[in-house]
């Protein structure tokens, strides 16, 4: 699958051959850093002054590079397809190789970052548990009531959410049994077939 680059995009990327490869590598690093942490316009100005171009040009160059990397990572295109897609830009052999290396080196991390953009349910982080025995309450003295108290830590959109819950021994055994069945499901023939065939 080839990348479809718009005219505007090609224009932005046209800046790259005009600087030497060390600068392109630096732009690549900045692009990934911006994906990790968000963009920082001051960096554009610093670079623009050093290269004697407008900061807009630098910005477009970095953004173009970012888009190239994220689209390629999203589609998980092969090396060959990446090279062919970049070929239409008419860059030098050296630049093409540099871009390919940039793609391969950062693909995994970019995919992890893109994954966080998906619609999200709270996800499991960890579980703490504690065994308790209730001995008495206001309405009944001399009890022996065992229970298990949990602190369930969940992550949602970057925030940690904690829920404190309780259950009785019988339900605990039921929970273990049900969730063990859930884990076993992945090992069934049906699931294995699906995993093998959908690629």
């Amino acid at each position: 699958m080839l990348l479809d680059l718009s005219e505007e995009h090609k224009e932005h990327l046209a800046f790259l051959p005009q600087v030497d490869s060390a600068v392109v590598a630096e732009f690549g690093r900045i692009a990934v850093e911006f994906l990790r942490r968000g963009s920082n316009p001051k960096i554009y100005e610093g670079a623009a002054r050093k290269l004697s171009v407008s900061s807009d040009t630098v910005q477009h160059g970095v953004e173009g590079l970012t888009y190239l990397l994220t689209e390629s990572s999203k589609l998980m295109i092969s090396e060959l397809d990446f090279q062919d897609s970049v070929f239409v830009l008419g860059f030098s052999e050296e630049l093409n190789k540099l871009l390919l290396q940039l793609y391969l080196d950062n693909r995994k991390e970019i995919r992890t970052i893109l994954n966080e953009l998906a619609p999200d349910l709270p996800s499991y982080h960890s579980l703490e548990w504690r065994l308790d025995v209730q001995l008495a309450s206001r309405s009944l003295r001399q009890q022996i009531k065992p229970s298990v108290t949990f602190k369930l830590h969940l992550n949602h959109n970057g925030d940690q959410n904690t829920k404190v819950l309780q259950t009785d021994p019988a339900t605990l055994l039921h929970l273990v049994q049900q969730l063990e069945q859930a884990l076993e499901e992945m090992k069934t023939n049906h699931c294995r077939r699906v995993v093998r065939n959908i690629k």
């Binding site: 996800s123 003295r141 065992p146 404190v164 819950l165 605990l172 929970l175 273990v176 859930a182 959908i198």
Partner: protein, 195 residues
Amino acid sequence: MELSASVQRGFQTLADPGSFDSNAFALLLRAAFQSLLDAQADEAVLDHPDLKHIDPVVLKHCHAAAATYILEAGKHGADKSTLSTYLEDCKFDPERIELFCTEYQNNKNSLEILLGSIGRSLPHITDVSWRLEYQIKTNQLNKMYRPAYLVTLNVENTDSQSYPEISFSCNMEQLQDLVGKLKDASKSLERATQL
């Protein structure tokens, strides 16, 4: 057990064969247990023809006294001798004491269950459901190809009678971690019961 003067007076009236003959006493006793333990019991529990001849104010007072005493006894897990001592102090004859103790013994378990269920506690997990899915793509990321679980815990809240659900997603490793920790908890529970 701390019991008010009102309860004591009610019992003294109950003890008096002039106010309550044997039949009426037995009926009132049964009515007291019923109104506490039977979920469908209503005010009509005292509407028995054999109780009609007794002044309704006296009837209500004695019913309330009996119910209060039964709850206090249940709360503290009173034994037969404690009950007998108190009833003797209220001038109950041996027959009525025996009847009271028998009724109490018969209903003791239900009483304890009822009292034990009153009170605040943390949200209580009652059930779990799960869903296994195979993620293929999102609009941001193609070719994901990995399994994911969606787990929902059904939770009961004692005070608000609400049934919130807690749902979360996890991958295989995380679910294994969760199951591992739950198994640790249940093994620890097993060991504690053998001590």
